[in-house]
Symmetry: C2
Subunit: 205 residues, 2 copies
DNA sequence: TAGATTGTTAATCGATTAACAATC
DNA sequence: TAGATTGTTAATCGATTAACAATC
């Protein structure tokens, strides 16, 4: 069942989930594919088609009960639990990620931080000790961590990724501005703000 | 010519540009669609097809001269110039963005910062003064700024976006975890790390 | 020349949309 | 009941890939 669902559909589910949570916060209890589509700039047909891969979550004539759909999407995406995440890199970006409040209620918790600057190792960041990268693999193996965020300079990113994967990490959010080379069973997502900016300048006058 | 190029093609060009720059740093002078494709996990046919929208940049038998292709892609994407960018929000994330060194050699410079916390206004961040959001529109109009990064809480993001657009901004990089409602002539790109993480957990065991 | 690689065309593949019966 | 909206099928649309002549 899981096997033949297009990546592009999975990619939209977090957007639906985010919009639905927002609707709930705004006090709505029920919504429709049309309302959701209008908010997101997506056709209602696409939303219904996407959701139908996982079951019938709505009711003809009335639409979707938001709390129920949120619960179902959380289950589908496996964020009805809290994932422990390893953060590699305790620079400006790593620090901002540590302080970010938005992870916990959406399924994630930064559980350990690594850096290799001697002056940082042993210091605290938030309420976590910064560990040496030399200890990274043992900590990740011991705690069974499956997800990591890479926030180190581009030159170090591939090396860090290789070690993470060797230690059992299967999902990497890479903030370093480069494409990683990983085996087929490892998922990578990229965040590079400059890429996002360069996708817009083309359209400017 | 510009009009009928698919967005999805434009979206890949910054990735090509990034990889080509990296190849150049590594000392390569020439590459091929096969080599680039191998590095990026993209088919060589797709790379050739994408590039062919903008002209013939390669040579049969030998491939692409990297410096020339980089130059051409920079022109296509309009990042052969430095764009002034407005940053709204001087919290942890805004501060990390201010300190980020990676903008300038890829076409962007943060030219002004805004926040509405009284204790921040007037303080320096990097070598820029933090201005009040009340001054945002006049500064943006005066300097003719076309690009902004939103790094404020979700509740404020739409309001900030509306003001930016009214002041003439045409491209927004939105770090707030919500979809913005904007007119058709305004481009928006989104960065929400939780969305990226939730796109991977589905595939974890 | 022989080998390699481009740019492009046609074929294939996959995603989106339109439409509507079912039904709340 | 009448109106609204789902879930799904078929049609359309668009993107990717395969293949190859051109040519460096």
């Amino acid at each position: 069942m899981t096997a033949n669902i297009p990546d592009i559909v999975i990619g939209r589910l977090p957007i639906y989930l985010r919009a639905l949570s927002r609707l709930a916060v705004e006090g709505h209890e029920v919504t429709s594919s049309h309302e959701l589509g209008r908010r997101l700039g997506i056709s209602s047909a696409q939303i219904r088609k996407d959701l139908s891969h996982f079951g019938g979550f709505g009711k003809q004539g009335t639409g979707y009960q938001i709390s129920y759909l949120v619960e179902q999407l959380r289950q589908v995406l496996k964020v009805d639990q809290e994932w422990e995440v390893a953060l590699i890199g305790a620079g400006d970006l790593g620090t901002a990620l540590m302080h970010y409040k938005g992870f916990s209620d959406r399924g994630f918790r930064i559980a350990c931080v690594f850096d290799n600057a001697p002056q940082k190792i042993g210091k605290k960041i938030g309420d976590l000790d910064i560990h040496a990268i030399a200890d990274m693999q043992s900590v990740i193996k011991e705690r069974g961590i499956k997800i990591a965020m890479i926030a180190v300079p581009a030159e170090k990113a591939q090396e860090v990724a290789d070690k993470l994967i060797e230690a059992g990490v299967q999902a990497i959010l890479n903030y370093a501005p480069m494409t990683l080379n990983v085996p087929g069973n490892v998922k990578v997502q990229y965040i590079d703000p400059v890429v996002n900016m360069q996708r817009m300048t083309f359209y400017l006058v």
